[in-house]
Amino acid sequence: MTAAPPSAADAQAAFARYPKPTAGQASRFLAQATFGPAPADIEAVMRDGYAAWLDAQLEMPPSQTHFDWLIAQGKNTEEFKGNGINAPLESTLWRKFISAPDQVRTRVAFALSEIFVVGVSAITASWPLFGAAGFMDLLAEHALGDYRELLTAVSRNLSMGCMLTYRGNRKEDPRTGRHPDENYAREIMQLFSIGLVLLNDDGTVRLVDGKPVETYTNADVQGLAKVFTGWDLDGPETDVGFHRRPMALNNALHSMAEKRFLGAVIPPGTDGHLSLARAMEVISGHPNVAPFIGTQLIQRLVTSNPSPAYVARVSTVFNDDGSGRRGNLKAVVRAILLDREARFPDLDSPAWGKVREPIVRFAAWARAFGATSVNGAWAMPDTTDNTIRLAQSPMRSPSVFNFFRPRYTPPVTELARRHLVAPELQITDETSVAGYLNFLSIYVDRGWEDLQTSYAAEMALAGDARALVDRIVLLLAGDAFSAQTAAAIAAAVEKIPAGRPRDRVRAAIMLVAATPEYLVQK
């Protein structure tokens, strides 16, 4: 067992005492907290310190929503009503990843989109791109809010109702034997809240008589399924507005039977709104939520294998933010990003860190080198293809299990032998490693459509290969990149004639971004 974790107040005091970061430390922090360090943000973090910079971010209201941007771009027309014409979704998602000022909120919302997973192709309503965009907006709205409110909003969301098929779900019919659809009831417990087995606050599996204990049975699923009956879209599909409204309840289709799950009993005759509120209370109050959700947020932002003590510190904040509030996600995000394990890890540890997600790699390139849309269109691609793109694309997971699983361990590896996980390696294979490099070689060379950069700051350094590489390393990898590798890259880049500075810049970026040292975020 670990020692009792410090209280939230102790942690606050400790965060305030952290020394001002170096440029490399600031860059590494920004890789965890945002879609990648931009030069100005590195300077700001160095100037203000981690906590002050982060608190300013956490207080920022959400920037322009995806939904509003799509409307402003005139995408709410008949042309985009059907599924399969979802390209503007990429435009707005990448727009915010790369350029949103509320970077921490945007990054956390993306992390949540890999826990509360909706794929745009599953949205069985008109204008599915607005459904997916609205869902990401919902995650951004609640990303720094209250977990129970987030869970409730997700549960009422039409896109999720489509994804997990409870939109239009009807109460049981004893005459025909029809039972309510169990899909959402199962996955809200397995994936969005408590997981399959009881956990300790430090994320380790709680053993009873030496064995794990499953958190729920099939009977719990069947009982909870009755809660998610009677919900469907609110209003006509004449304009995109219905995607912003929570699903409406039709109590005539809602099960009025007794609902038993997770030890709770909702008495017969309870209506849909009350049943939902009670279910959200029961689920979000389960002791597994803190370690289950906390661990996954740590994995999405910081490291694949946090120590039990780190998870326990985050769970403590989840369970009580210091003012008696449970599920305060702003406090949880703050605890994750400012934790001493995140800020001062042993960078030489062979297990620390995480494989950078392909989506984040691409966004980080744009942010590091100031690439932006030259005409405001953001004509970004679906990046799912694994032979020439990223094997991952936002809001396009093929199932609710995301592109990779939080407990994935690549078999037949030292990681497996040490019982370590590496979720992102689930989409890393002989094809996708080539696909990433093939995509990298395109966008570093010539951007993507209207996403362009002049590499002005880098061009200015191109005469000095060592200085050029040092800058690129700082922007992409922070203080976690070996001097030896940097020197080797500089030596090779120097072989490109100084009269071709742009080629030197491109080659240096490609070489840094191709290395395993960069690909594993420390």
Partner: protein, 457 residues
């Protein structure tokens, strides 16, 4: 596990010798390659065998795949399924007439969308397995309800039951049963990396003790374009890139990235050469068929690759039909039936029909009853096995009376399996060449069942 004197190690050496190699320094990769090359020359062509797993992600609905169609059984089926039942009149063209006597005591028809498979059943090239699923020990309904026997962990959970079908353990399993099976034949192939190949995404099925599955795209391997030319005119940059992405690393995740990149480059070179000019005729236009086409091409190139034992993995998504079952499911089965038929035809054309066995798998069946317009996660389900070596045209296993409250169903309409995944897998493994004691190592719960009950071959 892998002690130098373990039975499977001895057998491994014996097999290697039988394949025409001297056994002296077998663990050396270079000698394994030489061994494979020697085997490629000396072993008769018919010693090649391959298994092809077609995984139906989402949990295929068994009752709208293989539909009870005699009058009494259909009546029970239609009563239980209400709005999601297939109409009986649609089944006349795909009703199956099994060879021999015995059988499940009711008549079945393939879903109409699976019509392309009917000729293979009639020709004895396809068998139907009834009610197979994860089990630790033979289990009755009373034992399930009373939790009186050990049950597979995390039943009804997608990812865990996918893993169970592929590895006989829930998510996080270190190796898959096909990987453990191919470990027994490690010396048979010139290229260990071409032993387990997936065109259907990441899978634990192919992970053995030494290697996991090798990933191909539907066109074959993917080339790193940056390595094909000088980077901005600099051969130094290109050489450095190759070194940086492949050199061994201390960090465990970096190490894995380097290993995969090195493997990607090496395997691409070899596979690209072996597949050059290799075409397989047939209609392989759908996503599933495209995966099966690259499998067929690799099988066609088996001699150039020095392959004697291979397992392939392909997959089809979309079977989690909680809703829209009547709309979505027939389209999926249509793709499945056409693709399996085209692949089987290709195997016949290549003259390897008897050496390639294709089987379906899926994480679970689904509820018999309707949830409104779909079905929910179940347990047991029916599956197909195709190939020239299969004693086809018949059913294997049993099917209970169709009654939600009867002894054959648990938890309100979930088929309680009467054939374990271990038994199904063992039948495939035995054909592949594993011996009885080896099958016990590959399939951990086989000892609790009649290991030879499924006499598929």
């Amino acid at each position: 596990m892998n002690r130098p004197d373990s039975p499977d190690r001895r057998r491994f050496l014996r097999r290697a010798c039988a394949l025409g190699a001297a056994g002296g320094a077998l663990p050396m990769a270079v000698n394994l390659a030489a061994l494979g090359a020697a085997a490629a020359q000396s072993a008769p062509a018919q010693s090649y065998k391959a298994l092809v797993c077609v995984f139906l992600y989402g949990g295929n609905d068994p009752y709208n795949t293989l539909v009870p169609c005699d009058e009494a059984a259909y009546r029970a089926y239609a009563r239980a399924r209400t709005d999601i039942a297939l109409p009986r009149q649609a089944l006349a063209g795909t009703a199956l007439t099994p060879e021999g006597s015995g059988g499940p005591g009711m008549q079945f028809a393939l879903a109409p969308a699976l019509a392309p498979l009917k000729p293979w059943f009639e020709r004895g090239r396809m068998a139907v397995l009834l009610n197979v699923g994860p089990l630790v020990v033979p289990t009755t309904k009373a034992e399930y309800i009373g939790a009186r026997v050990p049950l597979p962990p995390k039943l009804f959970s997608h990812n865990d039951q996918q893993s169970y079908w592929q590895a006989l353990a829930p998510e996080g399993a270190a190796s898959g049963w096909a990987g453990r099976l191919t470990d027994l034949f490690a010396g048979a192939n010139a290229q260990r990396s071409f032993t387990g190949i997936t065109a259907g995404g990441s899978t634990v099925l192919l992970a053995g003790r030494q290697v996991a599955g090798y990933r191909v795209g539907v066109q074959g391997s993917t080339r790193i374009e940056l390595l094909q030319r000088d980077m901005y005119g600099s051969s130094d940059c290109t050489a450095l890139l190759r070194r940086l992405i492949t050199q061994p690393r201390e960090h465990l995740m970096e190490r894995e990235l380097s290993r995969i990149a090195a493997q990607s480059i090496d395997a691409d070179t070899r596979l690209r050469a072996a597949l050059a000019g290799v075409a397989v005729p047939g209609d392989f236009s759908t996503p599933l068929a495209q995966q099966l086409q690259i499998v067929a091409r690799i099988i066609a190139a088996r001699e150039a690759l020095g392959a004697r034992r291979q397992v392939f993995f392909v997959s089809q998504n979309g079977y989690d039909n909680h809703t829209g079952l009547r709309d979505t499911h027939p389209a999926l089965l249509g793709e499945l039936g056409q693709a399996l038929s085209a692949f089987q035809q290709a195997m016949e054309s290549l003259g390897v029909a008897g050496q390639v066995t294709t089987f379906t798998a899926s994480e679970f069946g689904r509820t018999l009853g309707s949830n409104g317009n779909g079905s929910d996660h179940g347990w047991g389900a029916h599956h197909f096995v195709l190939g020239g070596a299969v004693k086809g045209g018949r059913y294997y296993g049993t099917h209970p009376d169709i009654a939600v409250d009867g002894p054959g169903f648990v938890d309100n309409g979930r088929l309680l399996p009467t054939m374990a995944v271990d038994q199904f897998g063992a039948a495939l493994g035995r054909w592949f060449g594993a011996e009885e004691d080896e099958l016990g190592l590959v399939f951990p719960n086989l000892r609790h069942f009649d290991a030879r009950a499924v006499a598929l071959f």
